[in-house]
C-alpha cells in the first residue's frame, strides 16, 4: 500500500511495531528489524546512563557501611575497656580490703564474731557491696561468721571454691547460689595464723553491685553488656540471652588480656559487633569474661534511614530515567521508521516510474529495429509492384524470388524483435521462474546491436559451463542487467570493450560481472552511485535513478551488488544472486 503524503504526515505512534509487512517496501528499508533496534537502544541508553548512578550509590553505601563499622568498633572498644576497668576495679578494691584486714589484724581477733561483725560494718561503710564475712580454717570449717545468714558451723571442705582458694593467696569465684540460694560471688584471701596454719577470710559480694557496675555502661537498648564465665553461662542478666545462669551458646572467644572487638562470622548480616575482655585483677585471674554486643542499628540508625531515603530517591530517579529512555527511544525509532518508510515508498514509486521509463527506452530501441526491416519490406514490395506496373515483359523468375526472399528475411527480422519484446512483457509480474542467464544477456545485447556496430564496441560474453538456470524473477533480473549494460554502453567511448562474465559460485550463488573500459567513476562519486537522483550525466540524459533502482532490485532478488572502478580505466559491476530465490519475497 502506498500512502499519500497526507497519510504520511499523520505520524502514527509505535508505527514501527505495528506496521504491516510489505515485501515490496521492505526491500527498500535501510533496517530490517526495528523492534530490535528499539530494544538495543533502550538497553544501551539504560546501561550507559544508569550504571554510573548505580555504581555511585553502591560505593556510597559501601562507604557508609565502612565508616559505620569503624565507628561501631571504636565505640564498642571504648565501652568494653571502660566496663572492664570498672569491674576489675570493683573486684580488686574488695580483694585488697580483705588483704588489708588479714594483714592488719591477728587471727584471734578475726575469729571473734563481734569483731568480725565490726569489720563487716566498716567494710560496708568503706566500700559497700559486702554481704558477709567469715573465717574458715584449713579443714573447711567456718570458724567465725558475720552477716545476715546463719551459716555458723558449715563445712566447705567439699566445695570447689574452697579447694581452689586454699591453693592460692587470693580467690574470686564466679557467681553461684551455694547454701543460701541467692546469687553471690565469693572473694577470699588466704593467710596463716600464729601456728602457721592456713585460714581463709572469705567475703560474699552482693551481685547487684556488680550488675549495676556492668549495666552502668549500657548506653542504650542496642547495647547488650554482660559477664559470662569460661563455659558461657551468664553471670549477669543479658538483654539478648536472658536471666543470670542461662547458658548462652556463645563461642567462647580466644583468651586476650586486652580488649578485643570482633565481628562474629555466624551473626546474621553481621548486624552486631562483639567486644570482649577476660577480666583479671593484678593479684588473681577471675572466671569472668566481659561481653559487649553492640547492634549496628544503634549507630547506623540515622545513616541507614538516610541511606534508605537516598536509595528510594535513586530508585525513583532510575524509574523516571527508564521511562524517559523508553519514550525517547520509542520516539526516535518511530521517527527513523517513518523516515525510512517514506524513503522506501518514494523508492518504490521511483522503481515503478523507472520501469515505465524502461518501457519507453525499450520501445524506442524496438521501433528502431523494426522500422528498418519495415522500410525494406516497403521498398521491396513496392519494387515488385513497380516491376509489374512499369515493365510489360514477363519478369525474370529469379529476381522475383530474390525479392520475395528479401521480404521474408525482413519479416523474420521483425519476428525476432517481437519475440524478444515478449520477454519484456512479463516484466512487472513478480514471479519466480527458471531463467537462463545466457539467453537473457544475449536478448539484452541484441537491442544494442546497432550501437555496438557504430561505436565499434567489442562485446564478449563468457558464461561458465557449470552455470545453472536460476530460479528468480525474470523481469527484475532483466531490468538489472539492462540498466547495467546500458550504463556500460553509455560509459564506453568508441572502440571500447564490454566483457560480461557469468560464473557459478557453488553451492548456491551465481555472479554476473559486467566490465567496461569506459570513463570510470571517480572515488568521490563511487560512494554516491546508489543514491537516488545522483547522476553524472549531463542534462536530460540521465535521471540518476538507474543504479539506485538496480540496487533495490538486486536486494529484492536477495542478491548483492558490488562496484569497482578507476577513472579512465573502466568499471566492473558484479551482481551476485542466489541460484534459488527464497519464497518469502515472492509476494
Amino acid at each position: 500500500m502506498i500512502r499519500t503524503p497526507q497519510m504520511l504526515q499523520k505520524q502514527e505512534w509505535l508505527a514501527f511495531l505495528f506496521h504491516r509487512h510489505n515485501a515490496h517496501l521492505a526491500s527498500f528499508h535501510t533496517f530490517s528489524n526495528y523492534p530490535r533496534i528499539w530494544i538495543i537502544s533502550i538497553i544501551i541508553l539504560a546501561v550507559t546512563s544508569l550504571s554510573p548512578l548505580v555504581m555511585a550509590t553502591l560505593i556510597n553505601n559501601r562507604l557508609i557501611h565502612k565508616s559505620v563499622d569503624s565507628e561501631l568498633v571504636l565505640q564498642t572498644d571504648r565501652v568494653t575497656s571502660n566496663a572492664k576497668r570498672s569491674v576489675r576495679f570493683f573486684l580488686e578494691e574488695r580483694l585488697n580490703a580483705l588483704r588489708f584486714v588479714v594483714n592488719e589484724l591477728p587471727y584471734y581477733s578475726l575469729i571473734d564474731n563481734e569483731h568480725l561483725t565490726k569489720i563487716l560494718i566498716n567494710l560496708k561503710l568503706g566500700f559497700g557491696g559486702f554481704t558477709d564475712l567469715s573465717i574458715i580454717d584449713s579443714d573447711g570449717s567456718q570458724v567465725a561468721y558475720a552477716g545476715p545468714f546463719n551459716l555458723e558451723g558449715k563445712n566447705y571442705k567439699t566445695q570447689s571454691w574452697f579447694k581452689q582458694s586454699m591453693e592460692k593467696d587470693n580467690f574470686i569465684s564466679e557467681v553461684f547460689t551455694g547454701y543460701r540460694d541467692v546469687p553471690h560471688i565469693i572473694i577470699a584471701v588466704r593467710s596463716q595464723n600464729a601456728y602457721g596454719r592456713y585460714y581463709l577470710l572469705r567475703a560474699t559480694l552482693d551481685t547487684q553491685r556488680l550488675m549495676d557496675t556492668v549495666l552502668s555502661y549500657k548506653s542504650n537498648f542496642h547495647t547488650d553488656i554482660f559477664l559470662i564465665n569460661h563455659t558461657g553461662i551468664l553471670q549477669t542478666p543479658s538483654t539478648n540471652y536472658g536471666k543470670i545462669f542461662t547458658p548462652t551458646q556463645i563461642d567462647i572467644p580466644a583468651f586476650s588480656d586486652t580488649t578485643q572487638v570482633i565481628t562474629p562470622e555466624n551473626n546474621k548480616d553481621k548486624s552486631y559487633v562483639v567486644g570482649y575482655s577476660y577480666i583479671a585483677t593484678e593479684a588473681v585471674t577471675t572466671p569472668f569474661i566481659l561481653m559487649v554486643h553492640k547492634k549496628k542499628s544503634e549507630v547506623m540508625g540515622t545513616w541507614l534511614n538516610l541511606g534508605k531515603t537516598f536509595n528510594w530517591i535513586i530508585g525513583f530517579c532510575c524509574l523516571v530515567m527508564m521511562v524517559i529512555i523508553t519514550l525517547v527511544s520509542t520516539y526516535m525509532v518511530n521517527q527513523l521508521f517513518l523516515a525510512d518508510q517514506s524513503k522506501a515508498e518514494t523508492m518504490l514509486k521511483m522503481e515503478q516510474s523507472q520501469q515505465l521509463a524502461c518501457i519507453g527506452q525499450l520501445s524506442a530501441g524496438i521501433a528502431h529495429e523494426i522500422n528498418n526491416p519495415l522500410a525494406l519490406i516497403n521498398e521491396t514490395t513496392g519494387y515488385l509492384k513497380d516491376l509489374y506496373h512499369y515493365k510489360d515483359t514477363p519478369r525474370d523468375d529469379k529476381e522475383i524470388i530474390e525479392l520475395l526472399n528479401d521480404i521474408l528475411e525482413a519479416v523474420s527480422r521483425c519476428g525476432t524483435i517481437t519475440s524478444q519484446l515478449l520477454g519484456f512483457v512479463r516484466q512487472f509480474d513478480v514471479q519466480i521462474s527458471s531463467v537462463n542467464v545466457e539467453q537473457l544477456i544475449t536478448g539484452i545485447l541484441s537491442f544494442h546491436k546497432k550501437e555496438t556496430e557504430y561505436k565499434g564496441i567489442h562485446v564478449t560474453t563468457a558464461i561458465a559451463p557449470d552455470v545453472p538456470d536460476i530460479k528468480t524473477d525474470r523481469g527484475k533480473l532483466q531490468q538489472i542487467l539492462l540498466n547495467l549494460i546500458n550504463n556500460a554502453f553509455q560509459a564506453i567511448e568508441v572502440n571500447g570493450c564490454l566483457d560480461i562474465t557469468v560464473s557459478h559460485l557453488p553451492p548456491n550463488t551465481i555472479s554476473i560481472e559486467i566490465k567496461d573500459t569506459g570513463c570510470g567513476i571517480s572515488e568521490e562519486n563511487l560512494q554516491r552511485i546508489h543514491e537516488p537522483f545522483f547522476s553524472t550525466k549531463k542534462e536530460r540524459k540521465g535521471t540518476g535513478l538507474g543504479l539506485s533502482i538496480t540496487y533495490g532490485l538486486v536486494k529484492k532478488l536477495q542478491g548483492s551488488i558490488r562496484v569497482e572502478s578507476s577513472e579512465g580505466v573502466g568499471t566492473i559491476f558484479t551482481v551476485t544472486l542466489p541460484v534459488k530465490l527464497q519464497k518469502e519475497d515472492e509476494a
Binding site: A364, A375, N378, G382, Y383, K450, Y454
Partner: protein
Amino acid sequence: MKQIDILIIDDEIKFADMLSRRLSLRDITCRACYDGLSGIQWVKENSGAATLILLDLKLPDMYGTQVLAHIKELDPAVPVYIITGHGTREDEKECLAQGAAEFIHKPVSIEKITTLLTHVRGEVQ
C-alpha cells in the same frame, strides 16, 4: 560533374538499392552511398550535382548529424531530408536546427519521395 536527382546515404544496403531501383523506374536518377564518409566524399566531388539528399541518421562510421553538418558546409543549397528508423525528438530538433529540410520516419512511401522531388524541382525552377 554528374547531375543526379537524389543522393541516398544509408547503411541499409538493400533498402538503399531497392529505393534507387524503384526511383530509376520512375526516371529519377539516384546514387546510393552506404556510409557517411563516402556520402560526404561524393558531395565534395559533385557539389551542386544532387537535387536532394536522403540521409539516414545512424551510420556505421558517424552520426547523421555530423554528415549533415559536412554536407551543409560543402553544398549549403541542397535540401537534406533525414530518413530514420528511429529518431528521438531531440535528434529531430538538432537536425532541423542544422538545416535539415525535414525529418521523416521509416518506412517512407515512394510517393512521398517523388512528391518531395517534384516540390524541390519546382522550387529550384
